[in-house]
Symmetry: C2
Subunit: 242 residues, 2 copies
């Protein structure tokens, strides 16, 4: 079996991504990041999901991005927006598919974490090289997303190209492939695919303001996108709410 490194946050997308990698026959090695996020309960969810979905190994890497701050997720002095007009406008524009290039720039919310996916993919690359794995799975999504630039296909393609110039094993011929099976799916389609693969979404934590039990607020952008996804998929939302 070929080895794959799978980025696992404990949320809905990365859990589906892991289920897909496993279904494709990969032997999966999970990597999670304890980055000082306010919703740390997602890490406990990731642990449980990793066990349920049979990870061969699961590394949780401490990398405290509070050292820089600059995001509502890592700087406790910046509030996570809830039920604002801005979120509602953003999520409905996303849902309607009417996000233009210009909108995208102005839509990037305060929950954006500077260089997060670049940092996480870089660490995953180091892990992959040591494992001699050529495949990395990341559950980024360019449709029902929050306007984060590091979730777009052009970013992923540029990262893959850079990765293949960066590491010894790639230079020696074992090229790295970054898999993004969710990138062009809607949240509803992601949920449908996960359900078909037997994913138990009640284990996953998406909420930016989840409490220590992993119970969701139901009002932040991440909760709203998730609720909308279940609704559009016609699947019962078993998320634990506060």
């Amino acid at each position: 079996m070929k080895k794959a490194v799978v980025l696992l946050s404990g949320g809905l997308d990365s859990t589906t991504c892991l289920a897909i990698a496993r279904d494709q026959g990969f032997s999966c090695y999970g990597i999670s990041f304890d980055y000082g996020q306010r919703h740390r309960s997602e890490l406990r969810a990731a642990q449980k999901i990793g066990e349920e979905l049979g990870l061969v190994e699961h590394k949780t890497i401490p990398i405290d991005l509070r050292a820089f701050g600059g995001s509502a997720l890592t700087d406790m002095s910046i509030d996570v927006p809830v039920d604002t007009d801005e979120i509602n406008a953003g999520t409905s524009r996303v849902a309607s598919g009417k996000v233009s290039e210009n909108d995208q720039e102005t839509l990037i919310p305060v929950t954006y974490v500077p260089a997060r996916n670049t940092i996480f993919l870089s660490l995953s690359l180091g892990y992959a090289e040591v494992l001699k794995a050529q495949d990395i799975f990341i559950g980024v999504n360019a449709v029902d997303y929050s306007g984060y630039p590091d979730c777009r296909p052009e970013f992923i393609q540029a990262f893959e190209k850079m990765a293949n110039l960066a590491i010894k094993t790639a230079v020696e011929g074992q090229e790295i492939c970054i898999h993004t099976p969710l990138i062009s799916l809607s949240k509803a389609d992601i949920i449908k695919q996960g359900i078909a693969l037997g994913v138990d979404y009640s284990l996953t934590v998406s909420c930016y303001k989840a409490d220590s039990l992993g119970h969701a607020c139901g009002h932040c952008e991440s909760c709203l996108l998730r609720q909308q996804g279940f609704k559009q998929a016609g699947i019962e939302d078993l998320t634990h709410y506060q």
Copy 2:
């Protein structure tokens, strides 16, 4: 004054790079990495050098790459080679400029750390974004180097391209520039340039096996390249040896 993030390991190259950034008129913000390296005394050197060269701020980021291992610098069960035929052949081939593409592949030594510069540049990118700095300086060198793939110009170019797709400020028009002022210089030329800018190299630590006082072994690859550089530059080597 424009802000720049400067990667500072405490070694000869990064110190010269900082002196160059300062000389170019940048207001410099240093970033160092406590990554579980065996030669931790380089971090104390970096601290001292940062103070001497007037950093506005200096962050030391803990990111324990021993979690993956796979390098003589992060896995204490892998020895750092000293005075071996391989090192001598490698350094003399480098010195003669006769490193072919094929040699390069086979020359990558056990001191290579998987994805190190990718990880360090990614974290520097996050720091730069929060500071709203568009300039990052890294002292990589493609001439008198150790065959590390992440020191080559093609890697740096690919990283810069990826970075400009990754972060919010770049998407909004403030593009990132990765400066590599040493990339095509020999070690001797780097030293000459640093001396002209007033760098005190006795503060710097290059040795992979430096003791807790920062004193060098004089026999590892890094020591040999450094000694060769001072010799070729005709400048007295004031390195503290064990």
